[in-house]
Amino acid sequence: MNREFYSKLIFELSRPGRRGYSLPSNGLGTAVNLPDNLSRDTALDLPQVDEPTVVRHYNNMSTNNFGVDTGFYPLGSCTMKYNPKINEEMASHRGFKSMHPATPAVASQGSLMLYYTLQWMLSEIGGMAEFTLNPFAGAHGELTGLMVIRAYHNSRGDVKRTKVIVPDSAHGTNPASAAVAGLEIVEVKSRPDGTVDVDDLRPLLDDTVAAVMMTNPNTLGIFEKNIPEIASLVHDAGALLYYDGANLNPMLGVARPGDMGFDVMHINLHKTFSTPHGGGGPGSGPVGVRAGLEQFLPNPRVVRRPDGSFDLVSSPDALGRVSATLGNFAVAARALSYILSLGQEGTMMAGTLATLNANYIKESLKDVYKLPIEGVCKHEFVFDGLADKSTGVTTLNVAKRLLDHGYHAPTIYFPLLFHESLMIEPTETESLDTIDEFIAVMRDIAREASETPDVVKTAPHNTPIGHPDDTEAALHPVTTFDQLSTTKD
């Protein structure tokens, strides 16, 4: 990139009186006279700019982005994998795009068929009986799944189950969703190899436990091998086993949560099924259930009538509605496009290649970065910082130095099981050349950390913004243009 960094703010471009529209005078004056207590008494401080200035400003801003379309991104499916462009084309089809959300079933057969087909394919992939695509995001899916579980217990008159057991390595959304669902969170410990300690779990299980939430492979990328034993313990206690689909990527077409004994699961379409979710959305968190729990799924459900037509139905046993419409439909369209373009064989390859790529990087770097848990990982793995920590170079420094080489920084300081966590997830879409280049850069940084540690500690050096004071930024954040003007003075 040999272009100067564009760092202007729209407020800096503002000039009094400039505007990007010109409307004829309507001669009617102000249409509404608001009461004094509802009217502003100060002018609204909006930028005053003409149209070309606005267009250039945002176009220039957009070129500052780093994304999976501009470079390698070791955050993997955890954040977002590559989004094939054909998915965009499918989701932009006029028939889908122009559909009003309240169109009756009889006039939206094509859209309902898409919904039904995707929920059926997800059920096949997850080993579940039925999916709802209505939840708007992963955490919304978790909440919906827990509400399904509560509806199930309540339907049996089993109302004293108020606890959810969550592993200490879980994503923060698990305890958060349980809390929003009004449930109490109980933590179960990990063993040194990062998997759930069955001996710690056993005494926690009683008739007050509604569910146990697990991620498999877990947040360290380690496959939980004791699931059948855990599932039988959980079921013996009358609780249900919940599968957090955050790490479904390596399991695609290889293993199914339903076959392992999970009762309820959610999938993040924007992770595993390659739909975009930049800027906080739209996401999609479909929830699947095993046979016998379908009637508790949120209303409405899409069903196929014996004559082959599709319809919307509501169940009185359902937990209610979690969305006004059938979820983020365009995201579902992209996910179906992804599954259909991969096909069964391709879907199986995705999980396998993601696992191979992660293991290849792990084995190529474990002599210079500390690998706390040996053995085969799944789609991701965690280093505990550099192997040689004598020069005081931290994981944060390594991540910042990666920016100098044109890579997005990986997830750092998560999971909390290690002090210097550095998580790498390459996904299946990266070529061997890209992965080898990344390994070479990571090795260079490790060498620099030993030989010239100051270069790493003061990184990044090649980015438009250097090494900001993150403590000061957290303590005294500058969030408005007014504050910025004051700071500059």
Binding site: L396, Y413, L416, H419, T471, A474, L475
Partner: protein
């Protein structure tokens, strides 16, 4: 004569009579990195041994503060509200809360300096 005890969750408590001064250890502040926020209880709040009484947030992570003993908060270190970085500078001098200890026998469940140093290795 005061005595110091440690919790495996990296809080210390300096006991002087029935007053306990609670903070986080030097090991803990080092592991957390630069502290940017300390969430503290108020005077007269009850704290319970093994339960959280607040939280501490650094540029790396947020952690619960776990009370080593049961008791009543008698003083809160307000200086940390304006300048949480004091915890990094000297975690012993910059304690977080002082409590009136309800049950001194709970101190027997805590670690002495040697045992605490051993778990930090």
């Amino acid at each position: 004569m005061s005595q110091i005890y440690y919790a495996p969750t990296h809080e210390y408590i300096v006991v002087d009579g029935n007053v306990g001064t609670i903070g986080i250890t030097d090991y803990a502040q080092h592991a957390l990195g630069n502290v940017v926020y300390v969430d503290m209880p108020e005077v007269d709040d009850e704290v319970e041994a093994g339960q959280d009484f607040g939280a501490i947030e650094s540029v790396k992570a947020a952690s619960d503060l776990i009370s080593p003993v049961t008791g009543t908060v008698i003083e809160v270190n307000d200086a940390l509200a304006d300048n949480p970085r004091l915890v990094n500078q000297d975690p012993m001098a910059n304690w977080i809360i002082k409590v009136e200890i309800a049950d001194p026998t709970e101190l027997d469940n805590l670690l002495d300096e040697e045992a605490y140093k051993a778990i930090c290795k």
